[in-house]
């Protein structure tokens, strides 16, 4: 029973809302973990603010009997810092690119109540470009993927995607596997 409950943290079929019958998820992409680590290091610095204040004004806080109030204010600071960290992580985890054997779904979450979902059918893809720019992107293997659709004006750009070459291959394979179907139509 406990094992079954805990399995939701380990196994997932990556199913999503609006998934068609028989539709297989090939890849579920999020931005590179470097983006998260960068933001978390910023949050770590912010978390030091009460510690810094305590270090600088410790004698004044204790002398004027403000210690309990200071500790309470610090706890409120950490409460809202925790919310801010997980607001960022929620946005990160909800910003996904799902590649299935039929389509590519790009979910852009800009805030709790601001979401944009774009969908692109595999048979409308014309070409896929991988763009890796700079030392960090090259060393950490992440970059931009540009998917050009049949309609010349529409372009799908996925930023900071890890292992973009592999992603490109998966998209190309999905296109290739759809080609016989297209011919039969």
């Amino acid at each position: 029973m406990i094992k079954k409950i805990l399995s939701i943290f380990k196994d997932s079929s990556d199913s999503f809302e609006g998934q068609e019958e028989g539709e297989q998820v090939l890849l579920l992409l999020r931005r590179h973990i470097f983006v998260v680590l960068l933001a978390l290091s910023g949050f770590a610095l912010v978390s030091l603010v009460p510690v810094l204040i305590a270090t600088i004004f410790s004698s004044y806080i204790v002398r004027s009997g403000l210690l309990s109030l200071f500790l309470f204010a610090s706890s409120i600071w950490y409460l809202f810092l925790w919310l801010a960290i997980f607001h960022f992580l929620t946005m990160y985890t909800l910003n996904t690119v799902t590649i299935t054997d039929r389509r590519i779904i790009d979910k852009d979450q800009h805030g709790f109540f601001n979401q944009k979902v774009s969908e692109l059918h595999v048979n409308r893809i014309q070409d896929v470009t991988v763009h890796t720019k700079g030392i960090l992107e090259t060393l950490l293997h992440f970059g931009k993927i540009i998917v050009q659709t049949a309609a010349s004006e529409k372009q799908f750009i996925f930023h900071q995607i890890p292992d973009p070459e592999k992603v490109k291959d998966v998209i190309m394979q999905a296109i290739a596997s759809k080609k016989p179907e297209m011919r039969s139509i």
Binding site: L69, L79, W82, H87
Partner: protein
Amino acid sequence: MNILPVELIFNTLVGGIFLLYWVVVFITLYHLTRFGIGVQPKRFAAIFLLGVVILFCVSIFAYVNVDINSLLNKFTS
């Protein structure tokens, strides 16, 4: 006479902060569990909930230890 309203204001303010906190907690958990794809959002939700409960307990403990009346007396005298 003057102390009671200030204490009331302080308690109401703290109550408002805690209410706001739980509203944002609910919205965050709802988004992670309702719209998340894969295991990562579920893991985040579990860690988030654990942290939320621990930090809230710490805050309540710190709040109980604040004696706003004695603080006010100190600053007014």
